[in-house]
């Protein structure tokens, strides 16, 4: 275990010293400022709306929609961070000659992978939780709308980036850093597209599109986690407003059922086992 922590600490120290975190903090502050500005403008406009005949609550609609958008932005930033922390962990570092001096130490290859995963997953998950919490607070303070289950949605969002970090680490065993980064971001995009198709399928009643979306959700659980996070966020909004916000931004909310979180844990274990097996057999 101590070897795992040594590798994780080394990876984190590298990110700190390379000023990765400084860049991330600056860009996130910019994102937060823009989000606060946009939210403030939105709620000022919404407060001018009068009562409407459909029973729509404009404040709830605005709050849920913009926080849903913020969740997508947070997920995207978290995924980019997770990918950049892991994309060259094995093949990329081996090609640069960074990996070999570490791997010939008594440290095992599994411990190395575990350390890199621990560092990336911790940083990306913490980042997502902090940015998401900031968005919730901004939305609540500026618009006086608070989600009823903010923690559940945040946990699912954090779990989604952990899944992406694991996939990027697995990819780093087979692909060079550039190829892996491109591949993982394309897989991420494909997963979101699957979710979008699912929403369209739900609206049109198309079983084919729903099947595609469900398959994508189980193959790429980060997508299912994101849509489930949106569901948790708006699950207790009643009436017409609730029906509309459940359509949500960029894929919409979707109830993946109670097996999603256990399945995510199992899929992480499967990805970890595959990565350990493949890395153990690869020549460096």
């Amino acid at each position: 275990m101590s070897d795992v922590l040594v590798v994780a600490a080394h990876a984190l120290r590298e990110s700190l010293r390379r000023r990765v975190f400084a860049v991330v903090v600056c860009l996130t502050l910019a994102f937060g400022a823009l989000y606060a500005w946009g939210t403030d403008e939105l709620f000022q406009d919404v407060n001018d709306f009068g009562p409407n005949q459909f029973g729509l609550d404009p404040r709830v609609l605005a709050g849920a929609t913009i926080l849903g958008l913020a969740m997508f932005g947070t997920l995207f930033l978290g995924v980019v961070l997770a990918v950049f922390l892991t994309l060259g962990a094995v093949r990329g570092d081996a090609e640069r000659g960074l990996l070999q001096p570490l791997i010939v130490r008594p440290l095992g290859r599994r411990q190395y992978l575990a350390g890199r995963f621990l560092a990336a997953a911790t940083v990306a998950a913490a980042y997502v939780l902090i940015v998401y919490a900031g968005a919730v607070v901004v939305t609540g303070v500026l618009g006086d709308w608070w989600p009823t289950q903010p923690v559940g949605a945040g946990v699912r969002l954090a779990a989604a980036v952990v899944v992406v970090a694991a996939l990027a680490l697995l990819g780093s065993i087979f692909l060079s850093a550039n190829a892996n980064g491109i591949a993982v971001l394309m897989v991420f995009g494909a997963g979101l597209l699957g979710g979008l198709l699912g929403s369209i399928g739900d609206a049109l009643g198309s079983h084919t599109l729903q099947t595609i979306a469900n398959t994508a959700s189980w193959l790429l659980p980060f997508e299912a986690l994101y849509r489930d996070a949106l569901r948790v966020l708006v699950s207790e909004v009643p009436g017409v407003t609730g029906a509309i916000v459940q359509l949500g931004p960029l894929g919409g909310s979707h109830d993946a059922g109670p097996l999603l979180l256990p399945y995510t844990v199992l899929s992480l274990a499967a990805v970890g086992a595959l990565a350990a097996f493949a890395f153990g057999r690869s020549d460096l």
Binding site: S2, D3, V6, H10, E14, R17, R18, R96, G97, L98, Q100, P101, L102, I103, V104, R105, P106, L107, G108, R281, D283, L284
Partner: protein, 303 residues
Amino acid sequence: MASRSATGGRIERARPRLHSARVPTALAVTGLTKRYGTTHALRGVDITVGEGELVGLLGPNGAGKSTLVKIACGLVRPSGGTAEVCGAPAGTEGARRALGYLAELFRFPGWASADELLVLHQKLAGSDGGAAERAELLELVGLSEARDRRIETMSKGMQQRLGIAQALVGRPALLLLDEPTSALDPAGRRTVRGLLEELRGRGIAVLLNTHLLSEVERVCDRVAIIDRGVLVAAGRPDELSRPGGVEVVTASGVQAFTAASREDVPAIVERLVHAGERVYEVRLVRSSLEDAYLAALEAPPAA
């Protein structure tokens, strides 16, 4: 061992083995093979490195030297045969605990200082040497002044010396050095040469993979020459080099007696003087390790 024909000059490949029977074994490689698809990188190589021995591994590019070293330190899995480090199969934790390694193409994190790099490797090697070990290693490679200097600001030669210090963290019994002097200037090479001799004095076994024959000739106890995955010649440097005759410098120029030996010198000089030549110098010629190396590579494969 390589054998020469009676006519001299050519070394015939006779499945040489590089064994050290007189000292405990730090590295034992037996019948080692490695295939990459249809390419045979190693075809049954036998090499041993005894405790405190300094063995040079020579061969042209693509001969399989780096593959052999990588198998020994567990970076590459063999297709056949065995490699053991201090009695533990290569690649196992026991084997990795006993060795230090400097790769041919290595890089250290540029943001770290020399001291931070050594701290990291101390943690990974489980070394309890602390600051004293780090100071000793940096002094050994002549980098005491660069203790807190960031690696990215160091020259390639300094990084190579730091690499040797890194490989020595935890006092390994076997040091595997893959081209450790490739980026060094003559002064740096001399430093490394002295370092290798000191390591031998401390009882550390070294397998030195290099193209620099002069380095090997000066410091190595034994030499192994690999070509196309086969060990083609092995032995002490003085065993591999051979007498090359006698050269006599006279007033009329240098006269070569290629078949002559030391015992023939008085008669040759007497004959020349008798013929009216003025003799200024007599030289006994020995083939260099370079000659032996080239001869080994040109020899036909063993039947």
